[in-house]
């Protein structure tokens, strides 16, 4: 396989990570909504933790984007 095409295939494979991170982010907000509907009184106090979880899940998806960009543009 040519190195250039291997790079592009690798970048495409790295994009899978973005999809998996989408599952993670959806899980964070979905679980929050589920429990917020059970106890709406406690929901507002937990928004900080909601966004911490969101940030942690999102970071891993963004890392896969970085890997793809490095493969296409730098490597």
């Amino acid at each position: 396989m040519e190195p250039a095409s291997a790079k592009l295939i690798g970048a495409g494979l790295a994009a899978i990570g973005a999809g998996v991170a989408a599952l993670g982010v959806g899980n964070v907000f979905g679980s929050f909504l589920e429990s917020a509907l059970r106890n709406p009184g406690a929901a507002d106090g937990q928004q900080g933790r909601l966004f911490i979880g969101f940030a942690a899940a999102e970071l891993l998806g963004l890392l896969s984007f970085v890997v793809a960009m490095i493969l296409i543009l730098v490597a």
Binding site: G48, F51, I52, F54, A55, E58, L59, L62, L63, F65, V66, L73
Partner: protein, 261 residues
């Protein structure tokens, strides 16, 4: 592979010296006044005008004053909730951080290209976000070591660590502590860059499909254009969320330094 007339999604992040300053140098380092610097200055100018316009101190606040007070109160609540009463002294820093990131994210999204001015998102560069993250991280280090001295290292041994894990937990905590500035900077920079690249790629779909005929323009171009509008709305949300996450995580790290869990 590269066709003629293709939209280059990375061109918008190009840093260019402005006003013929590309030869300016101090001690061999180029200090050209770039479009990034210009847009950071514009961000600061807009932010200054926003705050100055609202900081009137009237007993019955007008609309503008309510906006500014709301923003300051938001940051104040954030620090009070995450750091406690000791967090009061960080309100100016977190406020500047949050509003600088928010304003430069939003300014980079403005459709000024219609008037021939191409907005530049300063936060879509790792150098800019990296400096912001280093600033936050060094404040955490300085405050932590000043308040707690060498006791600050107990941050790496959380309460209730079993003795038989003492060889492993501090190592993991140290890694997670050292990764903080990178994750802070990387998250903001990649989130802003990915959104702008996505918009550019979709716009290239619209342009190429419209060029290849009415049928393709209707089948591919119109849905892409609709998606672009939706993504623009999402990008405004992301601009706010990323500024909030940066401020939130910085205040959590400051909480570690102040209260040493």
């Amino acid at each position: 592979m590269a066709e003629q007339g293709k939209v280059d999604p990375m061109h918008q992040f190009m840093i260019e010296p402005l006003f013929g300053t590309d030869q300016w140098a101090i001690a061999g380092h180029n200090i050209a006044f770039t479009n990034s610097a210009l847009w950071m200055l514009i961000t600061v100018g807009v932010l200054f005008a926003f705050v100055a316009g609202g900081a009137k101190g009237q007993t019955v606040p007008g609309r503008w004053q309510v906006m500014v007070e709301g923003l300051v109160g938001f940051i104040d609540n954030l620090l009070a909730a995450n750091v406690g009463p000791k967090g009061k002294k960080y309100v100016p820093y977190i406020f500047s951080l949050f509003s600088f990131i928010l304003f430069s994210n939003v300014l980079g999204l403005l459709p000024l290209g219609l008037f021939g001015v191409h907005p530049f998102t300063a936060t879509s560069h790792f150098t800019v976000t990296g400096v912001l993250a280093i600033l936050s991280f060094s404040i955490v280090l300085i405050v932590g070591f000043k308040r707690h001295g060498l006791h600050f290292f107990s941050l790496f041994v959380p309460h209730g660590t079993p003795v038989w894990l003492l060889w492993l937990i501090p190592f993991i905590e140290l890694i997670s502590f050292l990764v903080r500035p990178f994750s802070l900077a990387l998250r903001l920079f990649v989130a802003m860059m990915a959104g702008h690249v996505l918009l550019e790629v979709l716009s290239s779909f619209v342009i190429s499909s419209a060029n290849s005929g009415v049928l393709w323009g209707a089948v591919v171009g119109l849905p892409s254009f609709g998606l672009m509008i939706a993504i623009c709305a999402l990008e405004i949300l992301v601009a706010g969320i990323q500024a909030y996450v940066f401020a939130l995580l910085t205040s959590l790290y400051l909480n570690d330094a102040e209260n040493l869990h």
